[in-house]
Symmetry: none
Subunit: 248 residues, 2 copies
DNA sequence: CGTGTTTGTGCGTGTTTGTGCAATAATGTT
DNA sequence: AACATTATTGCACAAACACGCACAAACACG
C-alpha cells in the first residue's frame, strides 16, 4: 500500500468517526506504529487533522456535538456498555431507533464483526462507521417524529427476516403488563420486531420502569434481557427479578 | 513494444485499479525502472495521472475523497437554488445522495408539499424537517462509502415506482459519452433511478463536466436538465447546448 | 550514401524517502 | 506510586528515485 493511499484511508476514517486511534490504524493498515505516527504527523503538517495522545481528531470536530443535550446521557452510556456484552462476533442483530440505541451504537467496539438490520437512518449512518459491520436499512415511510421508518412495508419486510438478537428502547415497561406504548404504528412495529428475533433485549432507563401505557406490545415473558443503568440487585428491579428474564 | 503502447497500457491499469506500482509495471512490461519512471513523468506532464513514491494514482481517485469537507459549498448552493424551480407542489420526486443533493434539500421552500423517495438516510432526515413533505426511504444494504442504500433490493423497489422527476448528483458527465461512473453498484443504481423517472435532472458542479469514467450510466439524451453553477451561456456548456437538454 | 541529430533505452552512482527497531521519555490509569 | 500505554528520538537499511552518461536505432538533410 502506498503512503498516499494510507493517508487517504486515515482521512476517511477521520471524516467518518471524527476520531481515530493509532492502535486501530496499526491493525487496519498492517504497518508499524511508527509509520502511523509519521503519517499522522504529516497530515497535521498539512493541517488536515488534529493529533492527540492515542490518536487523532478531525479538525472540524469542534467537540461535543451538543451531546450534552441528550437527556440522561450518562445513564444511557452505562446501559450501552452493559448491552455490548450481549453482542458477539458474527451475530445478526435487529436494532431500533431512539437516543439510547444511538448511544449504544457509538460505544460499540471498533473491531466488532456483525450484521445489523435497522429501521433508523441515524443508527444506520452511525453503524456505517464500523468497518466490519454490515448494515441493512429497512425502508418505508419515514416518520418525522421518531425518525424511523414505519408502516406496512417495514412490517412485511421484518416478517421475512430472522435475527439472533433484537435491541430496542422502550417507552414503558411493567412487570405484569409487559411492554406497552402509545402510538399505534410504533406499537405494530415493535410487535413485528420482537416476532422476528430469537431473543429480545430491552434497553430502559430506570424512570421508565413500572409504567403502563395504552397499547400492549408484548408480555414480559417475550423479553430475554432487561438492561437498565441500575445495579442488578437494585430494589426497583425486584418485580422484574421474579420473572424469568435476565437483568443486566 | 512502442512507447505509446506502454503509455496506453499504463493508463488502462490506472483506470482499472485507480493505482499502479512502478515495480509491477517493470515486471509486466519487461522494461527497466527508468523507462517506467520516464513514462510516468510524461503522463504526469500530460496531466493524466498523479505520481507518488512507489507508483502513481488516478486523478479521479483523488477527487473522490474530499467530498466530506463540503467541498465547493457555494457552488452547490447556487445549483440548489436553480434546481428548486423544477420542483412543484404535488410532485413525486426521486432524489439521490451526495453533498450537492443535501445542500439542495436544505434550501427547499418551507411550504413545499410533495412526496420524496430517497435512497439516502441523511437526505431523509433532512427532508423530515419539512411539514408538508412525505418521505419514503428506500431500504437495502447500506454503503459505508457513499452513505446510501444500494443492491438488488433497492433496485427492485425502484422498478416498482414511477416518479415525475429524478434529481441526482454526478461523478462525471460528457456531451458525447453521457453520464458515467466508476463503481458498479452505484452505476446500476443510477440506471434504475433514471429508468423510473419521467424526467431526470443532473446536478453537476462545473469541474465534473467533460469527464468520462469507466462505466456508462446513460446517454446524454436520457437527461432532461443539466444544472451547474455556471451561467447558462457559459462557453464550457457549449457542447451540452448542442444536445437536446435544458441547461439551468 | 554519409554524417549529424534526435529519440528511446539501459546502466551506474549517489541521494532521498519510507519503514522498522530499540532505547528513552512522556503521559494516562489504577 | 507503580504500571501500562503512547510518543519521541536516533539509527539502520532497503526501496525508490534523479542525474549523467553511453549506446543504438530512427530520422534528417545535403
Amino acid at each position: 500500500m502506498l503512503k498516499k493511499e494510507r493517508h487517504d484511508f486515515i482521512m476517511r476514517q477521520i471524516n467518518l468517526h471524527n476520531r481515530v486511534l493509532t492502535s486501530d490504524l496499526v491493525q487496519l493498515l498492517n504497518v508499524s506504529e511508527d509509520t502511523i505516527r509519521r503519517d499522522l504527523q504529516e497530515l497535521v503538517d498539512d493541517g488536515l487533522l488534529f493529533k492527540v495522545h492515542g490518536g487523532a481528531l478531525s479538525k472540524s470536530y469542534h467537540s461535543s456535538f451538543d451531546d450534552s443535550t441528550v437527556y440522561a446521557r450518562d445513564s444511557k452510556i452505562v446501559i450501552a456498555k452493559k448491552t455490548i456484552r450481549l453482542i458477539k462476533d458474527g451475530m445478526v442483530v435487529l436494532i431500533g431507533g431512539g437516543t439510547t440505541i444511538l448511544e449504544l451504537v457509538k460505544q460499540l467496539p471498533q473491531h466488532l464483526g456483525a450484521t445489523f438490520f435497522t429501521i433508523s437512518p441515524l443508527v444506520a449512518v452511525e453503524l456505517a462507521k464500523y468497518n466490519n459491520i454490515e448494515v441493512i436499512l429497512i425502508g418505508g415511510l419515514f416518520s418525522k417524529n421518531s425518525q424511523i421508518t414505519y408502516g406496512g412495508h417495514v412490517i412485511s419486510q421484518l416478517a421475512e427476516i430472522k435475527v439472533d438478537l433484537c435491541l430496542m428502547g422502550t417507552s414503558a415497561i411493567h412487570p405484569e403488563e409487559g411492554l406497552t406504548d402509545t402510538d399505534w404504528e410504533i406499537n405494530q412495529l415493535k410487535k413485528a420486531m420482537v416476532a422476528c428475533a430469537k431473543k429480545t433485549a430491552v434497553l430502559c432507563i430506570s424512570e421508565k420502569l413500572d409504567i403502563t401505557l395504552r397499547l400492549k406490545v408484548c408480555p414480559i415473558e417475550n423479553i430475554s434481557y432487561l438492561i437498565t443503568e441500575l445495579e442488578v440487585e437494585h430494589e426497583s428491579l425486584a418485580g422484574y427479578r421474579a420473572k424469568e428474564l435476565n437483568i443486566l
